[in-house]
Structures are given as C-alpha cells and as structure tokens.
C-alpha cells in the first residue's frame, strides 16, 4: 500500500506478542467518579474486538485513554507487546492507532481530501500533499469499498460517507489499530451493513479493530471477541461465537440487588394519553421517532424499555413540548399542539402533564439556581407562587420548598443551596418533588434513578407507585430493565425509533425483552 503518513510510525521489531493491544490495570477517575477501574484487556491482532456496555459504563473513557485524549491515573498500555506511553493524540497516531469518534472530528466546509491530510501533510505546501493523498485515497477506496468523492465538501456528504472519511483519515495515517466509538448510532441499517463489510475487509488485511457499541446485534454480527463493561469495570471477555445475546445482555445490565417494590394490582381507568403516529426529526432532519402509537390509562404505568438512543428521549421531548413533532397527542381526549408557539412546556404543564426529564442537570434544573428557585422552575407562573400580578411570592416558594424537602427527604434541607451543591440523588428528589406534587394527569419520567443512590431509588420508586395508585397515568422511560420490570404495568420496547411490541411484566422475562431491545423480533408493534 502506498500510504505514507508524514514521519511514519516508530519502526517496530517483529512483534513478540500476539496481541495488538494489551491494557493492564487501567484506572481513571474524574473527581469522585471512577470512570475506569482496573481494566485489563487483550486484543489479538487481526481481529474485531467488541466492547459493549450501557451508556456511562466507561467505554469511551477507556478508548480516549488509548487515543491519548486522557491520561490514565494508573496502568499500562502495550502496543504489539511493547509498553507504550500515549500522552497525546500524536503519540497514538505514531503508535498506529486510529480513532473514529462518535461525533466526527471533521471540518464541515473542507473537502474530503483536505480533511484527510489535515495534520498529516507532507510539507509546508499543500499541492504535493493533495496530489499524493488523492492517489492514496483512490487506492484505499478500491481496496476497502470506501468510495467517497475526494473533492466533495463534508457538509454535503451523508453521515455514512462522513464516517468513511474518518476511517480514511485513520488509514491514511497508516493506522493498524482502528477504534470505532458507537459507529452505527447515526447510520441507517444499510449504511451500518456497509460499514461492517468495510470492517471485515480491513480485518482481512490484518488490521485490528475495536468496536465500541451498546448494540448487541452488531456485536453478534461483526466481532470475534467481546468484552463487557459495567460501571467502570470490565466484567467479562468472551469469544463472540461462544456467547449469546441473552447472556451478554445479562452481563451488561448486571444482576443488581433487585429492589422489590410493594405494588398492588393496577386499577385502570379511562384513557388519559393517546399517542398516534408520533414522529420527531432532529435538527439535522434525521427521523428519530418513527410513527409511534400507544395509549396510557389512568392508574397505569407504561414502561418504555430500550437501549439508550433509540428514540426514547425524543418521545419524552415531544410529549413534554420541547421538541417539534408530527402525528397526534391527545390528553383526556383533547389534542395538544405539536408545532408552533403553543407547543411548549408551559402549555403542556397547564394541560396537566408533568415531566421529570432524563437529564436533570441539563434540562430539569438550573444548576446555578438555589433549590428554592428550582422548585418553581417551569411552574414560576403558578398562581400560588405570586404575591400579586407583578411580584412573585418568594416566601411562598421558599415555604413550599421546605415542605417538599421534608416530604421527599432532600438532604441537606437547605432551600438556599444551589442545585449543583446537592448529590445526584437529592437533585433528582427536588425534580421529582416538583413534578409529582403538581398532581398531574400524566407524569413523564425519564431515567428516574440514573446516578441516584440506593436509598433514593427506593424512595423514588415508591413515589411513582403512589402516584399510580392515585389514578394518574405514568410514562416511565428507563434503560434499567429491572426498573422497568418492577414498576411497569405494561412494557413497551423501543428500538430504532419504533415500538417493537408490548409485553406484560408478569409473563415476560429479561431474555425476551433483551432480544426485543436488540431489535431481534423484527415485528413492529401495532
């Protein structure tokens, strides 16, 4: 192959190790958060190695360490058997590592060619670099089914083609080890299939590939080995051929101490929420939610299970008035506006919808605001918080905060403390208290216990059940299967923006749900 990245790589002697990469005892903490704990992994040369785990399991951190974006607190990296220090990206590139990030690192208004040579130019003038790169690119394209027009601007390319440019960038730098971080998150199924063909071709040429994903189907389809990460630790590494989606799903989610929730049978009433053919496009015009239909009755919890990023966030945002949508949403028989100025969080709240968002720090709270100010957030127009039409009744909000803090056991119970000074669990209790105490007809609740300690989890679960027993309709979105199974009266599984089907928690099991979450039952719900 003709590719000659400038500077070349360190000439390595005949490899003494069968492993392209070995990580020994890698640990990394961000403040109090232990992102990686004593990670050990061996990746044989010329294989595709999958790393799977839920969001926040520490996969991306690990790969960022390997690419020199972060420095590990402790541990050792061996490349082809040689201990290698990777203090920066330059060293990683020299060591033959290429990385395709989840969010592409491309310059939008540059051509493909310019992006490929950026940082790997041959000399101070561009012309010779471009000429050479054009030829190398043509060779690479032929070799690996990586055709892209070298003169196209990135912003004119589809996401799939942009990803190919990222791969070409790595290959142009003569990467022998290619890391792909959640590569299919933004691809259509056809594009994903093409990607896997490319990866197989690369493997056949002796490249080593690390594929980071949370999608079981991809692991089963593409990898030789798979390592499972959970909460910063590596829980297992197995041969893909000897594992099954179910066993991997179990390893991923983990067998947590199952919190039994005291829950009587649901006393189901009238239909509260009707959703018909609801679709949401993101800002790039990609359809994230694809014509979802369901309904929720009073006194019922509908749990939406699924791997993160399959349209659950968009569903919550459309219902909560944050995202523009098409289709129909009706609350107690009345249609709600889906577009235009009337489709906003205020009108939704007025209609009787409360919303505990998935991301409490970005959406649910103003982190710099004091707790008492956050208790009014979204309800700052509520009549009981006004002293007169002009002036807010801060004393009333304060008193309400004290009351809610006591009821929901928020610690420390200091209304003046800014939200950012509370622990995750107590932040969540503030949000949950604010939304539940509104006595809504419909509660939207996303990831109610993400980053929340055990005690708070139990408390929040009890509150959700209590609200149900008051005859409220609840839409619960969670990536925690345990949570879905123990709280829901009905379970729907989301995959790729669609509902894969509804199940009864009494009769289904984690295995069946896991398969549906992986998109494997194939039947879209009706």
């Amino acid at each position: 192959m003709a590719a000659q990245a400038k500077g070349g790589r360190q000439a390595t002697a005949a490899p003494t190790s069968p492993y392209a990469i070995e990580l020994k005892g890698i640990s990394k903490a961000f403040g109090p958060v232990q992102a990686n704990k004593d990670i050990n992994i061996q990746v044989p040369r010329g294989t595709i190695h999958g790393i799977i785990g839920e969001n926040g399991a520490g996969k991306s951190t690990l790969m960022s360490i390997l690419y020199g974006f972060y420095r590990a607190d402790s541990g050792q990296i061996l490349i082809n058997g040689t201990p290698t220090a990777i203090p920066d990206s330059q060293s990683a590139i020299r060591a033959g590592i290429g990385m395709v990030f989840q969010h592409f690192k491309l310059v939008q208004n540059f051509t493909v060619l310019e992006n490929v040579i950026l940082g790997a130019e041959d000399g101070p003038m561009l012309n010779s670099s471009l000429t050479k790169a054009r030829k190398v690119l043509a060779d690479l394209s032929r070799e690996y089914e990586l055709d892209v027009n070298p003169d196209a601007l990135i912003e004119d390319l589809s996401v799939g083609h942009q990803q190919r440019v990222e791969i070409l960038k790595a290959l142009y730098r003569q990467a022998d080890i290619l890391i792909l971080d959640e590569p299919t998150g933004v691809l259509t199924p056809e594009e994903a299939d093409h990607l896997f063909r490319i990866l197989k071709g690369l493997k056949d040429q002796g490249k080593t590939i690390i594929l980071i994903t949370h999608k079981l189907r991809e692991i089963m389809e593409a990898t030789d080995h798979v390592s499972v990460m959970r909460r910063g630790t590596m829980v297992a590494t197995v041969k893909t051929a000897e594992s099954s989606p179910e066993s991997l799903a179990e390893l991923m989610v983990g067998r947590k101490v199952l919190l039994e929730v005291e829950k009587g049978p649901a006393k189901v009433g009238q239909t509260v929420l009707t959703v018909e053919n609801l679709s949401v496009k993101d800002e790039h015009g990609v359809v994230r939610l694809k014509g979802v239909s369901f309904e929720i009755k009073a006194g019922e919890i509908l749990g939406i299970a699924g791997v993160a990023g399959n349209g659950q966030s968009e569903l919550l945002e459309a219902l909560g008035g944050i995202a523009r949508a098409s289709g129909r949403i009706a609350l107690n028989g009345t249609n709600l506006p889906l577009t235009g100025a009337k489709a906003n969080g205020q009108t939704r709240r007025a209609a009787g919808i409360s919303h505990v968002p998935e991301d409490r720090q970005a959406l649910g709270l103003i982190m710099d605001f004091a707790a008492w100010e956050n208790v009014a957030f979204g309800y700052h127009n509520a009549p009981e918080y006004q002293k007169n039409p002009l002036i807010m009744d801060n004393a009333a909000i304060w008193a309400d905060t004290e009351k809610k803090m006591a009821t929901y056991d928020v610690r420390p119970p200091i209304p003046s403390l800014p939200a950012k000074s509370f622990s995750g669990g107590n932040q969540q209790k503030i949000v949950v208290a604010r939304e539940m105490e509104r006595n809504p007809d419909l509660l939207l609740i996303g990831q109610p216990t993400r980053g929340v300690d055990i005690g708070a989890i139990e408390f929040i679960h009890k509150q959700i059940i209590a609200l149900r027993d008051q005859g409220k309709a609840i839409l619960l979105v969670s990536v925690e299967l345990d949570e879905i199974m123990s709280l829901s009266d009905r379970i729907a599984v989301m995959f790729d923006g669609q509902l894969m089907g509804f199940r009864d928690p009494e009769t289904t099991n984690e295995r069946e749900l896991g398969l549906m979450m992986a998109g494997m039952n194939g039947k879209a719900a009706t």
Partner: protein, 381 residues
C-alpha cells in the same frame, strides 16, 4: 482548580481585579515618570474630598448606574449588549424631542415625559439587534457595535441638519425651555446646604438678593431616579416572573426550553429593557446637565457600563457601588488633567484594565485567589 467560596467570588474577585488594574496603572504612571501616589491623592481629593467634588462624582455615577444596569440586565439573559453608547445617544434624542416639544409648565411633568421618551428611543435602538439575534442569529455584539456607529452618524445628521436652530454654529439642539430644567443638587432644599459657598470669614456667602449662594454642581435629581432604577432592576430580576425567566434563560437555554420559556421573547424583552435603561441615562446628562442635545452626548458612558456591570458582578447593588467608583475615577481623572501633567486619559486606561481583569482574565484572578483557598490537606491525608 480550587473552587472559591461564594463570598470570595463576589467580593474578592472584583477587588483583586481592581487592585491589579491599579498596579498596572501605577506601573504605567511610573514608566512615564509620574508619581502614582500623587495621582491617587489628587484623584481622591478631587472626587470625594468635598461636597463640590461629590457633586461631580455623583453626576458621573448617575450615568454609569443606568448604563451599568443596562449591561447587567442583558448579561443575565446571556446577551452582551455593547450598544449602550448608541442607545444612550438615541435616548438623548428622545429627551430632546420631548423637552423641545412643549413649553413644559413644571419640571416634574417634563421629567416624566422625557423618561418615557428616553426609554422608548433607547429601547427602539436595541430592538433591531435583538430581533436579528433572536430570529436570524446575527451576533448581537457585532450588530450593537454597528448600531453605535449608525447612531453617531444619525445624531450628527439630525443635529446639523434638523435640530440645530437657525443661526447657531455648533451642532446642537436648541436650549430646552425653562420648565424642563431639572433641579440640581444645589437647587434642592436641605441638600443644597452642603453646597453653600463660604466667604473668607467663614460665613455663608450671600448674593445680591440676600440669599445664600450655592456652588453649582451637575449632579441632579436623576441621581435619585438612578437609585430607584437599581431597586427596580433588582426587583425585576429577583422578584418577578420575567426576571426569573431571563435569568433561567441566561443560565441554560436548553433548560429554559424544557420549562416552556420562549427564547425569542426573552431575547427581545431583555434587550428592550437594556436599551431603555441605556436611553434613560440621557435624563442625567442631556436634561439634567447640558440642557440641550449635543453631539456625542453619551461621552463613552455606554461603554463604561460594561466595566461597571462586570465590576458590580451583575447585581444592582454592585452596579451602584461600581458606578460610584467609576464616578470617582472620572471626576478624579478630570482633576488630574487640571492640576497635574498627567493626561485625563488615565481614566480610560484604568477603565480598560478593569474590564480586562474582571471580564476576560477573571479565570486568572480566580486561579490566583485559589492558591489561598486550597483546602488544608494535612488533616485529610
């Protein structure tokens, strides 16, 4: 980086910034062969050493309170309104049009009408950049700068071609009618006693009519309106729903959307209020002091508002104190120009340095302070 306690962030960061600005200014003075101590004493004496000095200091401070509040309100909505200068000039136009429109019977009526005129014209000048930001995403910093220059050109045109009375040479409007004259400090009962002139014998000087003679100072009733404006802005930002929404939007646009707060509304309203406050400054300088509209009436006060807001940590109480401080700087700087060979421009240097240290190098100041606030590790180990 060590996190600073809140009080240190609120109190120490601006004070250290001021100190740094003072040190750099002193170095500049030393390097041009001047004595920083002498400069300081002249400035202090000339700005706070007598009632007369205060009469000037507070006059400047009044203008700075308005422009500082203007920047503050926009800042809370995470909008950097650098167009206070132009908005203040337009405010001056509003004041002039109102004052010249009628033979005002009493200053209170004229004041109220002029306040409305100033606020409306100032807000109108902020409205276009605001709309462009909210609807077209045009960067508000750039558009407000452009509008400063457009305002300057517009006013020159109006003063030369439209408002200038026949036979007058300098580009200025006609003098306002007597009924539009605002009471200055020396005209206000009780307060005026502070400004009484004393003869060599120590007795109060008397005029021909047998009444006491007072020193004329430019500080006028607008000062009290400025103080009221501080209170009003405080109430707006921390006691009303609108202020709540502006602050929430400024902290996190994403969260604001979740709460159903309209970005368009907030950008427009915050900028209109900001522009209105800048415009109201004209009550002080145009109506209260020059009593006619002059070219470049705002004299840079719109820009000083940036320094005042940064120094005052975007809180009306802080803005009030910072405005007084800059009033001292301005009056003191003028005294320097009178009594020493140090050019009056020293105050511009200090102003720039304060903006630099409080607004752009604040991380550096925090890092410096952080050294003193490291948690004691001995016990923790």
């Amino acid at each position: 980086m060590t996190k600073l306690p809140t009080w240190a962030d609120v109190v120490l960061v601006p004070l250290i910034s001021l100190l740094l600005a003072a040190i750099v200014s002193a170095v500049v003075l030393l390097s041009i062969g001047q004595s920083p101590m002498e400069a300081l004493s002249v400035m202090v004496e000339g700005s706070v050493g007598s009632a007369y000095a205060w009469g000037y200091t507070l006059y400047y401070a009044t203008s700075f309170i308005f422009t500082g509040l203007a920047v503050t309100v926009a800042f809370h909505g995470s909008l950097f309104n650098i167009g206070g200068e132009g908005q203040a000039q337009l405010g001056g136009l509003g004041v002039a049009l109102v004052c010249l429109a009628l033979p005002w019977p009493h200053w209170t009526l004229a004041l109220m009408a002029a306040m409305i005129g100033a606020a409306v014209f100032g807000a109108a000048w902020a409205a276009i950049p605001a709309w462009l930001q909210a609807k077209r995403g045009s960067h508000i910093v750039i558009t407000t700068i452009m509008f400063n220059y457009i305002a300057a050109a517009l006013l020159i045109y109006l003063l030369v071609n439209v408002l200038r009375p026949d036979g007058q040479m300098d580009p200025a409007s006609a003098r306002f009618p007597e009924g539009a004259k605002l009471p200055q400090f020396a005209d206000i009962p009780l307060l005026q006693n502070l400004f009484a002139k004393y003869g060599p014998d120590g007795a109060v000087k008397l005029g021909k009519d047998g009444l006491a003679v007072y020193e004329q100072v430019p500080a006028n009733v607008t000062f009290f309106i400025a103080v009221a404006a501080c209170f009003a802005v405080w109430a707006l930002m921390w006691r009303t729903r609108l202020g709540y929404e502006i602050r929430a939007f400024g902290k996190s646009e994403k969260a604001a959307r979740y709460a159903g707060i309209s970005p368009f509304k907030i950008i427009m309203v915050a900028m209109l209020i900001s522009g209105a406050l800048s415009g109201m400054m004209a009550i002080n300088n145009v109506m209260g002091e020059s009593e006619r509209l002059l070219q470049n009436s705002a004299e840079g006060a719109g820009f000083i508002g940036i320094a005042v807001a940064l120094m005052g940590r975007n809180h009306p109480a802080g803005v009030f104190l910072a405005a007084i401080l800059f009033g001292i700087l301005y009056q003191g700087g003028a005294e320097l120009g009178l009594w020493t060979s140090i050019p009056i421009e020293l105050r511009t240097v200090v102003q720039g340095l304060v903006i630099l240290f409080t607004g752009a190098l604040d991380q550096m100041v925090r890092m410096m302070l952080g050294v003193f606030f490291r948690p004691n590790r001995k016990g923790a180990a």
